[in-house]
Symmetry: C2
Subunit: 196 residues, 2 copies
């Protein structure tokens, strides 16, 4: 324990998430979090502006990971194939390895209006990151914006259904596939008709 | 002036929007707003919880109007035709008559992270309202959710471009039509090929 603890941030995050889940976000104080983590409130405020931000500390890493997935995607994909490729890669590298963390996290966020607003803002920032990465690939602003928003929409729908499961029986990629199929069938009903 | 002023709320809203635009949201105080409106702070707090909420007082009316548009839509429309019908009706009845108000309002919201978060939360509540209205029409949860989110996505893109104009040379319905066409061409590229 102490100022050089290399995992102080991780311990504070785990302690906070546990306490928010056990006793509620509004009812949990910073001293309670630091006590459970065995650290000082001074250490807490070196890492986080307030208790809300503990839940959003992974935001920048996630944005960089999403941008990297888009940069590394094969050239020449159609927009829908690019969305599918990007979402499946994000699912297997970012989300699926941490099912229980995401599930607990979302349950806490759902309890508080301020947290829900902050989460929507996070999604907005993710969309902006994806737009920028798509523009680097040479897509125009309008197309990049639409692809990023559609990808966000499909991912949010898929994650909502994924975390409804108590354990991860069905992989996130399955729900992504379903959500993409629903998108295709609503926007372009004819394309689901038999090709005969 | 006084407690029975029938338009106290409207005067406070106009005064607040003017002051936010002139001197900034963070820099504007409730006493400044009430002074400009010629009313008391006590009157202010009868209508609004805080200065942020002044910008979102129309939220419930807008949700009711959207639900009513969906209820009144002709039966038997395809999902995309229902989206198009609903958005065009909302554009002509809710948005287009108040171009400058919406334009000023969006400019203020864009300046402040807390306001942006609140606006995203409003959009989320709108989506939930639309989902509920679509379910009343007999649509299943998954389909209603997807239609509502797609409609929100198209509307947000269209409004963003509409308010980029200093005056409303192009109607909102034009941008809605373009955004819907882009959606179709990205989700289902083949549908844009000549029918020959």
């Amino acid at each position: 324990m102490g100022r050089w603890d290399p995992d102080a941030q991780g311990r504070l995050e785990r302690a906070a998430l546990e306490l928010f889940a056990e006793q509620g976000f509004a009812e949990t104080t910073v001293p309670q979090i630091t006590k459970r983590a065995g650290l000082t409130t001074r250490t807490f405020f070196r890492y986080f502006a307030d208790k809300r931000e503990v839940l959003f500390s992974g935001e920048d890493d996630m944005r960089m990971a999403l941008a990297e997935i888009i940069r590394a995607a094969p050239p020449g994909l159609s927009p829908m194939n690019l969305i599918e490729h990007g979402l499946n890669t994000a699912a297997t590298t970012i989300f699926e390895p941490r099912f229980q963390d995401f599930r607990s996290w979302r349950a806490v966020v759902a309890t508080d209006e301020g947290l829900r607003e902050r989460e929507l803002r996070k999604q907005q920032l993710m969309t902006e990151t994806v737009v920028a990465a798509l523009r680097e690939r040479g897509l125009d602003e309008q197309t990049a914006d639409l692809i990023a928003r559609l990808a966000g929409l499909v991912l949010q729908r898929a994650i909502a259904r994924w975390v409804e499961q108590p354990i991860a029986n069905q992989r996130l990629v399955v729900f992504i596939h379903e959500s993409l199929s629903q998108l295709r069938s609503i926007v372009s009903p004819a394309s689901t008709a038999p090709l005969s």
